[in-house]
Amino acid sequence: MPQEVRVLAEGTLAWVQASGTGGWNTASAPASGTIGFVQAGFAFPERSMEFATVSNRGVPSHHKLVRINPLEVSFTVLYGVTADYPAHVTASGTSTPQVHLEFKQSSPEGTSIWHELLNCVIPQRAFTEQDEGNQLAFTVRAISSIGPTASGRVIA
């Protein structure tokens, strides 16, 4: 069986309002949506960790986990479909406006792949005027991620 690589035309990015920090917590019937016109270049680290390598008498001996970093996410949409953007408001149970993002790479020939980015704040939204569609660039910071997995919670 061939192993197809996933491409831009197979992605979907959705958001749901987060309620409570530290995991996939949402209120009953939370605000959510699928983001339209996401441009090529959506990027996120699956994980970001810092290790210190410890030496024993000058010879590398072992690693120590020093820090698990938040995940810096970025994506750009074409401006105009305002209702699709993440509703960045503070929900009950959180101290900051937060959303969860879910990204699905559909796989018509096999099993789709999901990634979830949890407890995201949106430090910056930047507008750029362009000849073929004005752009809105989102800079997002997630607490943690889940994935790749074979099922999602927002996108069927």
């Binding site: 035309a9 992605g11 016109f37 996401v38 090529a40 074409l78 699709d84 073929e132």
Partner: protein, 178 residues
């Protein structure tokens, strides 16, 4: 229910053509042109009256510009970017229908070129109308065809030595949604 495609060629090219027909003479005619015809099916339909315009849609290229081809999230809508090209030509004849010489032919051709530019520059976007639903009075689908570039092209000598032609290739783009 009859077939329809809101953002297909019938509606898009038809809306472009209707916009052209409605507006090309909306600002009047110069005194050396008493009337013009517009042909939308040249060369299938021959040019029999001069001076005249021909509007011929040519090749189109579809491009994916969005993740998952999703161009609207809620409710979800898919789409592809279409780059289209239309040939708009202005035709004049140095012979009148009775055989007399038309010494205004070049002037007619050049002023028709100016009329085309005037129309193309008059709108930042052309509304796409639902011709599938109503051919006589199509209503707006609230989507746009946008004009990109207008390139004036050299033309080969016509087989008929009395014919003068000014040719423009107008590129446009719109989103074909489904």
């Amino acid at each position: 229910m009859p077939f329809s495609a809101d953002y297909g060629d019938v509606n898009v090219q038809g809306s472009f053509n209707k916009f052209f027909q409605d507006n090309i003479t909306a600002y009047g005619l110069p005194s050396w042109i008493t009337g013009v015809s517009v042909y939308f099916d040249f060369p299938d339909q021959g040019l029999t009256a001069f001076p005249s315009f021909s509007v011929v849609h040519m090749n189109k290229i579809q491009r994916n510009v969005a993740q998952g081809r999703i161009v609207r999230g809620t409710p979800m809508q898919s789409g592809m970017w279409n780059d289209g090209l239309v040939d708009i030509s202005c035709w004049a004849s140095t012979r009148r229908s009775g055989g007399a010489y038309n010494n205004s032919a070049m002037l007619q051709m050049r002023s028709m070129r100016d009329m085309v530019m005037n129309v193309m520059h008059s709108a930042s976007g052309i509304l796409i109308r639902n011709i599938y639903a109503d051919t006589a009075n199509p209503t707006s689908l609230r989507a746009l065809i946008r004009i990109r570039d207008i390139e004036e092209m050299p033309t080969p000598t016509d087989p008929d030595p009395s014919i003068r032609r000014s040719r423009m290739l107008v590129s446009y783009y719109y989103l074909e949604r489904w």
